[in-house]
């Protein structure tokens, strides 16, 4: 019983956790941007794309496309067009008048003048883009593969993979939908949507990290995006580790579309629910702590008396030196997709994460999670692995320039 969880050590752990949490800036990537109305523009040009270490937006759409461009020139045109449209949409402004030469150039969904409204569009490429169609086989990011099937997955091919991913995010749903409509309008002959799922971030209920549709705070323990050195070691594609030079400034993105069996979940006792996550549902505190941002003390709880060894939180991030470089920057968006054929709510989570190395990070975590008790209540059905391109540096640059050059 020397390392068990006596009342005293539980308290110590909680206090330690509180102290640690205070020293670290609140997990900023998980905090929603609560701006209402017209948020200001998020800068488009930069070394990295917006939407990666940015605050989580309230509304989002994930669109995976199959590229149907006939050749590499048309693929380049597609990426230039995307760049031009994203530059305009994220900066806002007056749509071009067309006189009597055509229908209006803008849908008008956001009014006469397009507000920037905090829009962020993040463009990624899938492994399939590097097949023989566009002569890019030798440019594939070293760690980019097709998403693998894990034992607890029920993947539907129609909801998986894709040549190109757009993550469209903004404080308001109409801003997201306006951008989606504009971007697809200008690229119809070059790419077609393979799958799309829209997500939202709930407001804090009542405070702290937003909750997922299982009622739990989701994304509490993210690496601090303000720590540039940490981002260089965990998020941005490395240099000198076998990556093609063009990948500098990019990041690997994993998207997993995870159905939550919410009716079943609601029929599970609270203690069982909390043991599955390893956190309190009400406060978000680790089961060995008092407050959401308390750091769980796993060494003090080696057999899982407080936080079961199979708890999601504990398996995902065991907080050991060995698993430190497994950490990911996690973005979760809730989704609601009507009903299924059996009259149950089709709801769940768009799990998205950024990292430097999918195998070292996401796959290592997901491998630890195989068979966790939570798998009975969730069902991953889609998603894909992508490489979020380096940022567009300036007005003469475009998405993928270094990749195609």
């Amino acid at each position: 019983m020397s390392r068990g969880v006596g009342r005293r050590s539980f308290l110590t752990g909680a206090l330690l956790g509180a102290a640690t949490a205070a020293a670290i800036p609140a997990a900023d990537a998980a905090q929603p941007d609560l701006t209402d109305g017209r948020a200001s523009a998020v800068p488009f040009h930069g070394v990295n794309q917006a939407g990666i270490v940015s605050p989580l937006a309230r509304q989002s759409a994930f669109l995976s496309f199959d590229v149907i461009a006939a050749n590499r020139t048309e693929l380049t045109d597609l990426l230039r067009t995307l760049t031009d449209r994203v530059r305009f949409l994220t900066g806002g402004g007056q749509p071009a008048p067309v006189g009597i030469t055509g229908p209006p150039s803008d849908s008008g969904v956001l009014g006469v003048s397009v507000p920037a409204d905090g829009l962020m569009v993040t463009t990624g490429v899938g492994a399939s883009l590097f097949d023989d169609r566009y002569g890019l086989a030798d440019r594939r990011p070293a760690r980019l593969t097709a998403m693998r099937m894990f034992p607890d997955d029920a993947l539907d091919p129609a909801w998986c993979h894709g040549d190109l991913l757009l993550q469209v995010a903004a404080p308001n749903n109409d801003t997201v939908l306006h951008a989606v409509r504009d971007l697809t309008r200008h690229t119809r002959g070059a790419m077609q949507v393979r799958w799309r799922l829209d997500g939202f971030t709930s407001p804090p209920r009542p405070s702290g990290t937003p909750r997922n549709l299982m009622g739990f705070k989701d994304g509490t323990a993210n690496p601090a995006t303000g720590d540039a050195a940490l981002m260089d070691s965990l998020i941005w594609a490395g240099t000198g580790n076998g990556e093609p030079a063009w990948t500098a400034g990019g990041s690997y993105q994993v998207v997993r579309l995870i159905r939550m069996l919410v009716e079943f979940w609601d029929r599970v006792s609270i203690s069982e629910q909390e043991n599955m996550f390893g956190r309190r549902r009400d406060s978000g505190a680790p089961l060995d702590g008092d407050h959401e941002f308390d750091t769980p003390d796993f060494p003090k709880d080696p057999i899982g008396t407080a936080i079961p060894l199979t708890a999601h939180m504990r398996l995902a991030n065991p907080r050991t030196r060995k698993t430190d470089d497994n950490r990911i920057l996690r973005h979760g968006y809730n989704y609601d997709l009507g009903m299924d054929g059996n009259g149950n709510l089709n709801q769940g989570l768009i799990f998205s994460c950024f990292q430097q190395d999918i195998q070292r990070q996401f796959e290592a975590i997901q491998t630890r999670l195989i068979g966790e008790p939570l798998v009975d209540y969730i069902s991953p059905f889609g998603g894909g692995y992508f490489f979020a391109l380096p940022g567009v540096h300036d007005s003469s640059d475009h998405f993928g320039r270094s990749m195609l050059g």
Binding site: D66, I68, Q94, A96, P97, V98, G99, I100, T101, G102, P103, V112, A158, R185, R188, G189, A190, M191, Q192, R194
Partner: protein, 406 residues
């Protein structure tokens, strides 16, 4: 004294010539007129920097006091007692007559902003007051280096009469051909040869599917000959479900020849009725541009989704026929579009691509891949290519709309 006569920052700084003094005087009078005409309406709240321009019989175009290049909002105020339309037109030079902005349905004593981007040149407002010949307002000169928004010389109704005549000749031939083919279909069914009837149904249907610019002119014949079950409470059993898709349903759902003979006879009758009525059927000039766009929208909406398929699985054959019919319309409009639509060659490119993709789904024995059997990759290519084509066809409808110019 600044030399540039027409800066594009919105503030005129020219040295007035005799003529310009006159223009300015007229403009000042016009400002008064506008203020009187619209006060205390909406336009009174416009900022001073915004040009509020009068549309009326007596003061057309007055009030454009701050002519400037670049992106801007012009407010067109109808001070007349009649409803009006107004155009922002370039006058003189190689772009003479091009319209940069247009306001339709400008009610009496209302105003409407129009967004334009104007480059260097001379411009005027054309006032189209109901029951009055078009009036051109005074010319204003704009300098600077801005690139103007896309513009075109309007197409007039008389411009479209020649193309319409050519298209009508195409209809006469097409409907005659159609009648021969529905005769053959009817004959096969009445002879009890349903295999032959299934073979005869497709060419007859496809012939009708190439006449897409005239469907509204055909009136009731269109629904009788090619209607679907949409809107019919009884679905395929609805007694008013007639025509090609009704025949298709029977031919591909084991209906007896005796029972089908009633519907093929009826179809053949409608087609001959159409042929007889054709001399009196007059498609509108406005249909040409509209249908050049909409034919392919319908293909995307009803054929690539197989929504009209009643069992033959020939939606892609229909798409192919629709494209042929669309090219016919584009062909008669081509002389008008050539000088007005810079992306006309892109239309041809994407039309060609769509044709190649669709016809790749016809097997050597003449059968077509049903839409439901397309691979995801092929389906995406068809959808994307046709979607690109309709994006490119949409401007044809806008450009070829008949407009009053003089």
């Amino acid at each position: 004294m600044p030399e540039a006569p027409t800066p594009d920052d919105g503030v005129p700084r020219w040295r007035p010539s005799r003529r310009q003094v006159l223009v300015t005087l007229v403009a000042l009078v016009a400002i008064g007129a506008v203020l009187i005409a619209v006060w205390p309406g909406r336009t009174a709240q416009q900022t001073a920097a915004q040009n509020t321009i009068t549309v009326s019989r007596s003061n057309c175009g007055q009030g454009w006091t701050r002519p400037a290049g670049g992106a801007q909002t012009l407010v067109l105020a109808n001070a007349d007692s009649n409803n009006a339309e107004a155009d922002v037109v370039e006058v003189g030079g190689p772009n003479d007559g091009k319209v940069y902005g247009e306001v339709d349905g400008l009610g009496a004593n209302t105003s409407q902003p129009v967004q334009v981007t104007l480059g260097p040149g001379t411009y005027a407002i054309r006032c189209l007051i109901e029951d009055t010949d078009p009036i051109m307002g005074p010319a204003v000169r704009i300098g600077g280096h801005a690139t103007a928004n896309a513009a075109a010389v309007p197409v007039s109704n008389s411009d479209l009469l020649g193309p319409l005549k050519t298209y009508q000749a195409y209809l006469v031939t097409g409907v005659a051909d159609l009648a021969t083919k529905t005769d053959a279909l009817d004959t096969a069914v009445k002879a009890g040869n349903l295999a032959l009837a299934r073979t005869a149904w497709l060419p007859a249907h496809l012939t009708y599917e190439t006449l897409g610019a005239a469907y509204s002119a055909f009136g009731d014949f269109n629904g009788q000959i090619n209607g679907t079950t949409a809107g019919l409470p009884g679905g395929v059993d609805d007694p008013t479900f007639t025509g090609f898709h009704r025949v298709e349903y029977g031919l591909w759902h084991g209906e007896s020849a005796a029972s089908l003979a009633t519907v093929t006879d009826q179809l053949d009758g409608f087609v001959h009725g159409l042929q007889a009525a054709l001399p009196k059927i007059e498609p509108q000039t406005v249909d040409l541009g509209l249908r050049a766009h909409e034919i392919m929208e319908n293909t995307l909406q009803f054929e690539l989704t197989a929504r009209t398929d009643e069992g033959s699985g020939t939606s892609l054959a229909t798409a192919d026929a629709n494209l042929a019919g669309d090219r016919e319309v584009l062909g008669v409009l081509r002389p008008l579009l050539a000088t007005r639509y810079p992306q006309l060659s892109d239309v041809d490119t994407w039309s060609g691509r769509f044709q190649a993709l669709v016809e790749a789904q016809r097997a050597p024995n003449g059968t077509w891949t049903p839409v439901s059997q397309l691979t995801t990759a092929t389906r995406e290519r068809l959808d994307g290519t046709l979607s690109q084509l309709v994006e490119l066809l949409a401007p044809v409808a806008a450009i070829a709309e008949p407009r009053l110019v003089s």
